[in-house]
Amino acid sequence: MSRWLPFEWIAAIRFLREGRMQTLFIITGIAIGVGVIVFMSALLTGLQANFIKRVLTSQPQIQLIPLDQIARPLRNAPGVFENASVQRPSQRVISVDQWQKVRDRMQSMPEITAISPTMAGSALAIRGAASRAITISGIEPTSYFTIVRIPDYVVAGVPRLNSQDIIIGTELAKDLGATVNDKLNVQAATGTPVVLTVTAVLDLGNKAVNERNTYVALRTAQSLLGIIGGVTTVDLTVKDIYAAETLAKRIEGSNAVEADSWIATNAQFFTAVQAQKTSNTMIRLFVALSVAFGIAAVLVVSVIQRSKDIGILRAMGASRGQVLRVFLIQGGVLGFVGAIAGSVLGAGGLMYWHSAMRQADGSELFPLMLERDLFIATALLATATGLVAAMVPAIRAAKLDPVVAIRG
């Protein structure tokens, strides 16, 4: 017998070892439960991270745009209202009011990680007899590329944007029969037409987007669209993407802009993410509950089976507290060992699933995210569940009257 262990631990471990079948079955049960939690959590984290990465590397997390232009009825005198029918004015392309100041204010906010002013508008791309309607985004490459990772989507050429350059999508390139180093004639309703050189062709993963989206230097867009020195949006990325909406509201409160967060513009996606999180929490909760009841059931039976042993231990001088701890430790050990077995099971299942399930193009369906924190949290949760579940049986054991227990 190991002398370095306190009595409670020796007794708990010996009792577990003697009830081999019970112990084995309950640990298997816990392991399956924990395995499901690990598998589901890691899978959902992976899928979610994948979705978010896809959504958030191709668009800013908050966009600042000019306030809507509205028409107000005129009043003749205080208290006198005209029964005017007010039409909504057409929305001209206008610049964000004093956008440099807005940008400076954004720079001072610690929650914001990247800021990029953009001049966007519609134009016509013409090459020979072919012409296509396009969306022009005038950007500052260094800051914009940290928000939307344009270089990641390049299929041909290099993502260079000097004043005479343009980056176009694959579909537009196909429609216009253009490729890298070819020249395009670009013309907007206002402003000056320009001739631009294609430096890169992008695949943004969406046909419509590949047909329309083009990128030019900010100054080129300003002169092309006839708004010199102006920007139509200020794009932001933030530290905590889930706080984007509240941050957007704060920005709206203190600046003369409309702030659209990715949460508001992708409401559907965000609802899906929330639903996944909720369902994951529910799964965890119910698995933890069934694990807890399993442990409690096994220990209740064990207390009954061992009532004689408990009586003898009490007669030998063991205190109620010691008997209580013997059973609490059993619960904790069951939870902990089950959690380790379950983590191995869940991680193994995930690795198998990850290698077996591939997308049509052979790339991974979801990134394999086996985070250390998940395993630590699961082990702690399972151990705590074991301890809590052991509470009722342990108290019952501690309350046993030694005389009655020994007599059986």
């Binding site: 017998m1 002398r3 306190p6 009595f7 020796i10 007794a11 010996r14 009792f15 070892r17 003697e18 004689k308 042993d309 009586g311 003898i312 231990l313 009490r314 007669a315 030998m316 001088g317 063991a318 205190s319 109620r320 010691q322 030694p402 005389v403 020994i406």
Partner: protein, 227 residues
């Protein structure tokens, strides 16, 4: 120490007190055990022997009367203090040995020393092994208790009862389930312990031959001590 190891003063025990089914099991029992005495407690089944033994062993409380262990009135002690006094002073040997099956023989002997931090020390394993040797079971010390013969199990139980060097050893029909030869061996062992260590022993038995070999015989009949 002039106090007797054990003194019972008008001990009464009744069950279902205050109910129509109230049963009195013990009536004004007076009994004194001097240090080093080996006493046999005899009496027919249902006479209250076991109840008396449980009260003496601090496993049960009397309805009235006082129980003194080494001069200390146990009526004044709470549950934790009783557990501690029991753990330090009283060793038990039961009729049905009551070894813990999850442990090996020597671990059963070690148990009373492990449950109390005051006994903890690097030498307790040696002490347990020495006790196993003393009861003649050094060779099978690491066997599971369940894999031993009845006589061997009872010897392990005696070794366990002696582990914390008790002042008083309570034996409830220790030879009741054994054949004559094993019973004689177990009794001889207890007699030897009594002589060599001066341990006071109170043994409940139905075996008149063994009882006659004790220092004194006390008969319990209908909850009263008659001789």
């Amino acid at each position: 120490m002039d106090d007797p190891v054990l003194r019972l003063d008008r001990i009464c025990k009744a069950y279902n007190v205050g109910l129509p089914s109230e049963t009195k099991v013990l009536h004004d029992v007076d009994l004194t055990l001097k240090r080093g005495e080996f006493l046999a407690l005899m009496g027919p089944s249902g006479s209250g022997k076991s109840t008396l033994l449980n009260i003496i062993g601090l496993l049960d409380r009397p309805t009235s009367g006082h129980l003194f262990i080494k001069g200390q009135d146990t009526a004044l002690l709470n549950d934790a203090a009783l557990t501690r006094l029991r753990g330090h002073t009283i060793g038990f040997v039961f009729q049905d040995h009551h070894l813990i099956s999850a442990f090996t023989a020597v671990e059963n002997v070690l148990m009373p020393l492990l449950v109390d931090a005051e006994f903890a020390g690097p030498d307790i394993v040696q002490k347990a092994n020495a006790l196993m040797a003393r009861v003649g079971l050094a060779k099978v010390a690491d066997n599971r208790a369940m894999n031993m013969s009845g006589g061997q199990q009872q010897r392990v139980a005696i070794a366990r009862a002696l582990a914390m060097s008790p002042d008083l050893l309570l034996a409830d029909e220790p030879t009741g389930n054994l054949d004559t030869q094993s019973a004689g061996g177990v009794f001889d062992l207890m007699r030897e312990v009594n002589r060599e260590s001066g341990t006071t022993i109170l043994m409940v038995t139905h075996n008149l031959d063994l009882a006659k070999r004790c220092d004194r015989i006390v008969d319990v009949v209908d909850g009263r001590i008659t001789a």
